[in-house]
């Protein structure tokens, strides 16, 4: 990573943490941050803390997960097979990379192929929405005894900046079955869920005049956060901290990161006025403001009926925002340190059912990666001509999660303790798909 990028990240971190109080953009000031400045005490303690935290953040790695709820058809998106019966009516088009074709539904995405790495040989055993969503969110199959954390929670735990006001993990859109949270990692790493990108998150918009709100907080500090008895000291301390953070959130100008209206009309147009487009724009804004993991949900791709026209519509809503997100991140110099993952819980059956639909299929499906050090312009893995079986380079879910960790520089063998004291690795087994990286 280059020095400019490092500086960029430092700016961003400190800008976010300071903007609240002064309203001054510190971008220029921080270009000069050096070891000497820190050593001579030019920076306040908070600044130092932020600088340290940003270092710990592995130089600002972030991840955007575009979650295709319901299981998108690989044939209608990243792995068309127009020459086989299984391909149905969907044609293939050329992309900006010679020799790689995508489905005709994704013309804008095809232009960004230089930055995209498609894995066509994903394979898993789970074909129910809930179990497969759980698996592709956590890397583990569901068990009643242990709540595995969502990958977004893990990334936030590993890379998040604990000093910032904004939540580390934001999920945008209607959660599907099997929505996962921080599980045994604890509520601290739970996703901050927003059903829509065009409204500020629930209960963060101040409902009383701010002087009155401050008076209430003040009274609460005098009466309500003191432990009534010695028994409650620990809870009272947590309570005090939470209320302070919640109040900061409500009063903080950082919350403007959640307001996509602050983007120019042309930027908003470029992302499209659709729900998913707004979600992608918000994801970019949030990552830019220091949020570590953003999940944007798009769907429902569960096309048991009428697969072709429904997939076409879903792709139309996907194509432009996805391409724009990659292009925008790249232009802002953020793509190298932002892994963008496109995936759903599984793919769809090669065989077209009598209702022109495709059913659940997990033996061979596709995932697309971009950014975060991933080498674009390539396809990994292969299936037979009809897309039914993986014939080359099978990639399991653990392999995929290892690949995420590799990109984000997270140690996948790191163990978190479960409540019963059992160490649980971030990823159990599997190997990163090395060829995905340069």
């Amino acid at each position: 990573m280059t020095t400019t990028q490092q500086n960029f990240h430092l700016d961003r971190c400190i800008e976010v943490s300071i903007r609240g109080s002064s309203g001054v953009h510190r971008r220029d000031f921080l270009h000069g941050v050096s070891a000497a400045a820190m050593a001579t005490g030019m920076l306040s303690w908070t600044d130092l803390l932020v600088v340290e935290a940003s270092r710990l953040r592995k130089r600002g790695m972030a991840c955007i997960l575009l979650w295709m709820k319901g299981g998108p058809s690989q044939f209608e998106t990243f792995s068309p097979t127009p020459d086989h019966d299984n391909g149905g009516e969907t044609q293939a088009i050329n992309t900006s990379v010679a020799g790689i074709q995508l489905a005709e539904n994704l013309p804008e995405t095809a232009r960004m192929m230089n930055d995209i790495c498609v894995i066509r040989s994903m394979t898993s055993k789970e074909r129910s929405h809930r179990r497969a969503s759980f698996l592709l969110h956590t890397g583990y199959i569901p068990t009643p005894s242990l709540r595995h954390p969502s990958f977004g929670s893990i990334v936030t735990q590993q890379l998040g900046d604990p000093t910032q006001n904004l939540p580390g993990f934001v999920r945008i859109g209607a959660e599907g079955r099997g929505a996962t949270g921080a599980g045994f990692l604890g509520v601290k790493f739970d996703p901050f869920v927003m059903r829509r990108a065009d409204r500020t998150p629930n209960n963060t918009k101040l409902l009383t005049q701010s002087p009155r709100f401050r008076r209430r907080m003040n009274l609460l500090d005098q009466l309500g956060t003191r432990a009534g008895t010695a028994a409650m000291e620990a809870q009272a301390a947590v309570h005090r901290e939470l209320y302070e953070r919640a109040a900061n959130l409500v009063l903080s100008p950082d919350m403007s990161a959640f307001d996509i209206q602050q983007e120019t009309a042309s930027v908003r147009r470029a992302y499209g006025e659709t729900k998913f487009g707004q979600g992608c724009l918000l994801a970019r804004r949030l990552v830019e403001s220091g949020v570590t993991f953003v999940e944007v949900i798009h769907g429902n791709w569960d096309t048991h009926l009428d697969n072709f026209s429904r997939s076409r519509k879903l792709c139309a809503a996907l194509d432009q925002p996805y391409a724009q997100l990659l292009g925008d991140l790249k232009q802002r110099g953020m793509l190298d340190r932002t892994l963008v993952v496109w995936m759903g819980e599984f793919g769809r059956t090669p065989r077209i059912n009598p209702r022109a639909g495709r059913d659940h299929y997990s033996r061979a499906f596709s995932v697309a990666l971009a950014g975060g050090g991933v080498r674009g312009g390539q396809v990994i893995g292969r299936t037979d001509a009809g897309g039914a079986e993986v014939t080359e380079r099978p990639v399991g879910v653990s392999d995929l999660f290892q690949t995420f960790c590799h990109s984000l520089r997270i140690d996948a063998s790191h163990e978190n303790m479960s409540p019963v004291g059992r160490p649980i690795k971030i990823v159990e087994g599997g190997e990163a798909v090395r060829e995905a990286f340069a």
């Binding site: 009155r212 008076r215 009274l219 956060t225 000291e233 919640a246």
Partner: protein, 551 residues
Amino acid sequence: MNRSFPLIRTVGLLVLVLACCWQRPRLAWCEPAVESSSSRVDRLLSAEIFAQLSPGQLAPPTGDLTYLRRVWLDLLGHLPPPEEITAFVLSKDPQKRANLVDRLLNDPRFGRNWGRYWRDVILYRRTEERAMATSRILTEYFAGHFQANTPWDQIASEIITATGEVRESGSTAIIVAQAGEPENTAAEIARIFMGIQIQCAQCHDHPYDRWKRQQFHELAAFFPRVAVRPTRATGERGFQVVADDQPPRRRGKKKANRRVRGTLEHYMSDLENPTAQGQMIQPALFTTGQKLDVGVTDARRRGTLAQWVTSDNNEWFSKAIVNRLWSELIGEGFVEPIDDLGPDREPQAPRTFDFVSAEFARNGYDIKWLFRTIMSTEAYQRESRPRRQSADSPFTASRPQPLRSDQLFDVFLQVVEADQRQPDNAFRKNTRQTGPNGPRSVFQNMFGYDPSQPREEVTASIPQALVLMNSAQVNRAIRGGKPWGLGKWLREIEGDRTLVHELYLRCLAREPTAQETKTCLSYVKRTRDRRIAFEDILWTLINSVEFRYRI
């Protein structure tokens, strides 16, 4: 009457609180002539644990105010109404605590409160989302049984052997929550009714415990013929738990859609060769060593399992619920986590644990007996202290418990008087709305937690704080411009000091301290607008840490 009542109440309380402080040592529990199970429990605890302690390590008995709030929250999930607080504190009846417990055990809210608790125990571990459809009927199922004091072994048997339409039969919930899948269903039956976490043995021999992989699969072998299927008969889409004793058939003509629908027997997969069918397993219960033949019907299989699990020679059955209820009421279990009893764990106060468990079985698994016994102990009636460090002695004090979502929701409604039938009450129709988008469910999503989770891991979150401090619903509900709730009290209670006392009594079921009164009164004075000032005070009490905990 309303105008003067709070004043009388307040004066009465003051006198009484003083009196209580004066004669605190004599407030100790009364010893009946024949030794009750509760005093036997206290004696055993003393011998096992307290004998070695220095004075001061044991928390003193709690005063009437804290005790009253604790019992109300534990049994009914509500706060005591202000009139009751006064009456209870004023009463000189030496049996008043025992009488209170008896009375509340017969209140319909007791069944509902604990019905919701067990709904959460089962549904928080669901691996099948459709199980949420049982939520309501499941609550009613338990509520009805607790109300009628159905013995615990009967409830367990009904759940283990359940069949029928899912929306009509709450007893199907565990099976539905695990999609009828034999391994997960077996694991949940073992966890909930025997407090044993054997599912780790699903894939390998358990690293710590003596149960083996084979034994886990022997338990799963009671469930291969259970299935959750769509209901076809009725017009409405539903699901039912069925017993399928027919040989498996293959559905669908084309290869891609062909599915095996289940087998009549359970097979344990070969770890070396996971795609093969594996070894057929004979049903057996690992805790008692009893075995059943292969080939028997589902009804016999599950019927037999129910008998064996609930029989007196299976000590785990009694211990699981004793440990769970003890932990909920006293604040910590003999064993923790509460659903992970062993076999090779060392419980705290093992003789006490054995005694309560054996007595519970001897009393016919009478649930109200268990509540009454635990709540009559000195251990239950101590003051709260912080959760102990592992080196400290257990059961020396009560421990603060975060309110469960339903408790918090009901207390909130009670405090703002939102369930009154006033015509334009924003909460009126909503509180009765029970669908997934009703306010109770929204609250549940935000404040709910799995009751089997160790309590120190249940932490508050920022979105929770945001709901209470800055949501439209809460802000609307605490407004003082309405004919009920704060509006009514503002009109009827003239003195600011009395009103402060009233709000403390209603929100926290106690009197404010002198310092708190002073802070509130000076706030009212500074704010000038009386209504605004008291809205802020009410807001503060609802957002206080004390509001969220049972102490």
